[in-house]
Amino acid sequence: MEIIYLMIPLSLLLLVVAIWAFFWATRSGQFDDLDSPALSILDDQSEHKE
């Protein structure tokens, strides 16, 4: 079980990375509008076809 001395710090590192990524997403406005991006996928006429 000595492996936990490596794995747990590693998992913590991963946690820090995840939190950093999330903070970045919040800062860059990814959570500002949660409704309209869901609709863009319904838009089958994409710009380059027009």
Partner: protein, 862 residues
Amino acid sequence: MAILTRPAERYSPSIGETGSHADESKLSNRSICFHCLEPMPKYGNLTANIGGHVHPMCCIGCKSAAQYIDQQGLTKFYDHRDRLNHRDFFSSVAKSVSVSAAEAGSAIEDQWLFLDRKDTSSAYVSYGDPQYRCISVLVEGLYCSSCSWLIQRALNTVSSNIECHIDVDSKCVHIKVSDPRVVFSNVMITIAQLGYKPTALKIGSHSDTFALAKTQRNEALKRILVAGLGMMQVMTYATAGYFAGNESDPNIDSQQARFLLLVSMLVATVIVFYSGKPFFQNAWSDLKNRHLGMDVPISLAIAGAYFPSVYHVLFRIDSHVYFDSAVMFVFFLSVGRYVEMRARHRLSGSSVGIAGLLPEKVRVRRTKASKSPMVDIAPNGVKLGDQCELKASEVAPFDAKIVEGGGQFDESLFCGESLPVERAAGDSVLAGSALLSGAVTVEAIQTWGNSSIAKVQKCIQSAERVNADEQQRNSLLSRYFILFTLILTTVTAGAWLTIDPDRVFEVCLAMLIATCPCAFALAAPVGRSAAIHALRRCGVLLTNNTALASMQRVSHWCFDKTGTLTEGRPSVYDVFPQGTLSRERCLELVACIEREADHVLSTAFNTIETSLVAHNIKEVVGSGISAEIGQETYRVGKRDWVLRNQVNRHTIPDPKSDRTELILSNNSNVLAVIELTDEIRPSAPDFVRNLRSTCTTVKTTILSGDRKEVVSKIADRLQIADHFANLSPSEKLAKIDLYQEQGEVVAMVGDGVNDAPVLAGADVSIAMASGSHLAMNNADVILLNGNLRNLLHLLKVATRTAWITRQNLVWALLYNLTALPLAACGLLTPWIAALGMSLSSLLVVLNALRIHQLSHSELETN
């Protein structure tokens, strides 16, 4: 293309017939405007070719918005709107605004040029990086995601380099441009052409509250994530820790168990101090203010779980650690707070005050000062005798007397008068009245403190205070509950000291966590949040927390007339041809002439399309217009003026008191009498009838500032027995006060500035989105599409919300009442208490979601 035609087929079944021109006028009587989905007016022949199909349009505003959308290749928008089920409200919003945009006419292009000039733009445009320019725009009429989709796409057609963030909650569009060729006036025009009403926001001005709300939301999200991810880690370590004490399990030795403890302490420390910070801060400020808020026992429980555990780990005391309970507690509480905060932020109150109705600066001539007679002042700096000149479409900045000139004023904001009023030299005008045509010089006759606007403002403030008192009473109740749990915990602690001193701490902790009134506190905000969401879908915006609760107790509905029960703008009521010309032909002639005029009555003819061209147009202010069409000269205007200019004196029917008439004549004959009226909203009779049938005891009253005859006519048609005319804003308020003294719960529906005080004073106030800002600011509910039937939905949702919230409260109470004795007897460990608390909260949330779903299916069937 097949998809594109779908909405049209659904809303106007007879659309196939629109192909030939002859059918159009017949068809328009029974179909719906394709753009705004409101019924077509009685006399209207507008159509637009959208996506290859001809669709009926109710007015020029709708038509130009729809055509613009078509030109930009954005017809998908009509599709989205259908799919989203926002169809009932969204575009009617765009309509009310687009009508005014069409009225503004050519002014629309010049209006935003100040954003491109170096000297005037600095207050609005910020430069992030040297190559970036940013601007924030408040977009009125932006209410849903298909609106934001439309704006985003339209702006991309201006330039592909425009980056925009659209915040639907705050109705703000934040635009960032790197291309130096993009001019902001162009951006504004694009938004306006879609049918919205954009306003550039000054840097750091009233966007502050929105920005603050956004930062708060983002901060809360970060806290939740840190708590959530951290909680999972700590739980994992704790589970491992449960086996560590077990001698039979050789896999984890005490060295490793201690490592796990240290790691969980590390993670828990981050969570408690980062995610839990707001609770400690609030508790601290509560204590400083000698006020017992809910955060006090919460902080006690978090600190009580965390600090002793740290002590135990550091000093290697073999005892229980409660990091898992602490972080779970923080996480679930943060989620609860977030839900509550969202509900609060979604209340779409705007921050535009009464002064926003007036121009920011006016140039006046100080008649009583010898030096520098021309000064720029704000309206509240006005002195007696100040004079200023008003041109058409400007707003009187203070209560004044006309010293020179004359013209038509729109006084609907203050006195509810539905039709333009003639004012000449010597007459007085109220601040906020808009000059529609003509030019006048006015002189101030009141100082700011005595002006009508300041009086309305005072009325509003005094009415608001009453509501604030009520909220205070509610918070008192929860304070007693908290005090009760704290005392009970102390008593239990005392009891356990004598029974088993070792377990005192554990028991107290379990009690604090179990009694934490979480599900209790969540029940109301979660229900409200679900209701807000459900209502938003049918075009009803809530701006106040207490409105839903008071809604179902309403025993007396009061209505304003102009703009509430009626459309608030003139429309063609009937046409009486006097000669050989057909009605359609007469209307076409009038529409052609009136198109060039710019007074309120001319908007009634926005619904008629004509290919005729008028020449030699002469407008006689206050009388009428003459113009040449083809070989003939026509006159449209008041009876006296037309008859005076006329050779052949006809006998024409006497005017009716409650309608405005226009007479059309050529050089020799009267051709038609056209009656204009401020038509009752189509949804009004239906609503009043339904209201009576659903709750038979409810009373209805009309409170109007308009003339007696007009009000009684409308009251007759709606079968509302009680009606009062000629009321001033303060008299309206007095009426409502009287009803409230008689123990009635009053709902007020209104739209104008004159309704603002009464809206602030009513138990539930509902404003029309097409009305004034001031009315909306003081309303608990904003009705987006002017469809009064949606108020019935509001009633239904309010009743259901109250019922489900009561279920939730009962459940939370039952849970707390069972958990408390169990915890006090030492049967609950802290982590089980935390789990139970979370589960009960979850149940409350899931139950509240039913409000949303039920109302959804019901709206579908309607």
